[in-house]
Symmetry: C2
Subunit: 329 residues, 2 copies
DNA sequence: CTGTTAGCGCTTTCAA
DNA sequence: TTGAAAGCGCTAACAG
């Protein structure tokens, strides 16, 4: 059967305490350390996490709650969260909430059960009531209350950026296409600030902002584009919505980016090595993930952490906007 | 501080055992059950997983080892694994191995540390030596030894299917495009059986099968297509490779599917709701995930499980093959 | 049916 | 520097 610390102690001819010390890097006489290490190797001993946790109340595990891992944006985020946790010797417990609050709540309970030390969550449902300030929780893209820590992309600047990039590329009549939910979240600024900036730049600006869940975005876009045939630049709330828009544009016999330029939001790539799916206002996903992990582990370790972190968005050129002559960067 | 079972027992005026029984659904007198439940609610009590695990040696957690979650195929697989585990009250610990054997090994150790009950792994590195038959491990797409359980898609039939679908759509000169690794794995059958079937059908068949890692697949494909200008149907080893092929084809001024039809392998969709990225031989990802979980949990629970499970592949039409008149399905 | 009790494997005083 | 011993919070066997 599995070797225990007792077995190791007996084989090494030392006390239980010494074995524990060696394992936890507490200084011991070199000769005893050697004996213990030899015994550990011989018995192929591995410490039982449960017994240890019972004493230490630490799990070195963090839960990540996402709507679904089956989405390139969340997958990228999860990738970087896991990578960063790994570097700090933590493990990642993954939860696809599918938007179900019960499931999110279940994971929140786990920190009380000592199953995880804390939670990083991208959640759009109303779990405010369960998120207390005493719970080690970092929210992404969603503001709860004063004392719940969150990190987000600069959606304000992101929206403006989209308007400016379209303007620089000669668009005259732009549009925002997207959806929104009842719950307040940061993404609403994408529309608002795009619109403001477009108007400031003297562009005509239309808005198609549906309430989610959206039945059939493509046909809504089709009607919209038919209604405003002079639109030559579109900013969509996400890259996936941009794909829908492009599909409709092609169906209507127009070309991207020649007739209509499209800029999405998120910075989607199917894999690390791939190209951007569309021209996009990219979220600094890696930075967001690292920041979220840092903040969370600070809280877990009892340190202070700022409650609001806003990270910059950046335009990334894909194949859905025209090339600029005087390339900057 | 956190309430313990003792606190609950005291408050309810019963013994420790009764509390434990209530929690574990062992029949007790209704009146005691009520008292206990009331106390639990009042104290907001949650059982400590660690203390319980120390006794039971169960974690109800399974590790999933993938090359990277940031890839639509692995993300989809992970999605279904988590969903199935959730239904069985298990949790998922996620590991991006990035192909590093040390990291894979670390997770294998966790089984011995009681951190996880078992492992589902998609791994292409040489960790055979650590995978013993006593380790609850289910391998995907990769054969280790006789007694390591694995589940895979029917790559043999998949390859044939691709040849047949191209043939049905009028292709005369087909090609396989892909890469392979030193380690033996099931995917090699995709090329082999495609080639055999194409020849059987009387199609001319070229092969571009590079050794991974591949520096620049697109330029290799470009050379290849320039060398064989009459190719009118391509089967790629993955959907992602198909995307590369399409890119090259367009660059060469030809059209997909009019001039060259392309069929990939995997059945990639960016999200659950999205369209197939290309016409494809789809792996039954959901079925694979459910099967893998079933097999693993059987082993974890000490039951027997078949060591080889092969699941059927199926052709899924995307936009990169011609529509057939007499649609079957 | 229920209270008491003996550990599970480890960490951490406390003496020595 | 170290061994012995006392729990951590829970489950399960046992006696009532």
């Amino acid at each position: 059967m599995k070797a225990t610390m007792k077995d190791v102690a007996k084989l090494a001819g030392v006390g239980l305490g010494s074995v524990s010390r060696v394992i936890n890097n507490v200084p011991v006489k070199e000769s005893t350390a050697a004996k213990v290490k030899a015994a550990i190797k011989e018995l192929n001993y591995e410490a039982d996490i449960y017994a240890r946790g019972l004493k230490t109340n630490k799990t070195y595990t963090v839960a990540l709650i996402l709507p679904t891992i089956w989405h390139p944006f969340f997958a990228e985020f999860a990738y970087y969260v896991e990578t960063e946790l790994e570097e700090r010797n933590y493990k990642l417990l993954l939860c696809n909430s599918d938007g179900r609050p019960e499931k999110e709540y279940e994971y929140i309970q786990m920190v009380r059960q000592n199953k995880v030390d804390g939670i990083i969550g991208i959640t759009y449902s109303d779990i405010d009531q369960y998120i207390s300030s005493s719970l080690p929780f970092v929210s992404i893209d969603r503001y709860f209350t004063e004392d719940v820590i969150y990190v987000t992309t600069d959606n304000v600047e992101g929206g403006r950026l989209a308007a400016r990039e379209l303007f620089k590329r000669g668009a005259k009549h732009v549009a925002f296409v997207g959806g929104h939910q009842e719950t307040p979240n940061e993404t609403k600024n994408r529309r608002k600030c795009f619109q403001l900036e477009a108007e400031r730049l003297g562009l005509e600006c239309e808005v198609l902002d549906l309430l989610e869940p959206i039945e059939d975005l493509q046909s809504d876009i089709e009607k919209f584009l038919l209604e405003y045939p002079t639109i030559d630049g579109i900013f969509t709330i996400t890259d996936l919505a941009a794909l829908d828009a492009i599909h409709v544009i092609n169906k209507l016999g127009k070309k991207v980016p020649e007739d209509i330029q499209v800029i999405g939001f998120d910075g989607l790539k199917m894999t690390k090595e791939a190209q951007y799916v569309v021209s996009t206002i990219a979220q600094p996903v890696e930075d967001m993930a690292r920041t979220a992990v840092s903040l969370l582990l600070n809280v877990v370790e009892g340190k202070e952490a700022p409650s609001r972190t806003v990270l910059p968005a950046a335009f990334k050129e894909g194949a859905t906007t025209k090339k600029l002559e005087n390339r900057e960067e």
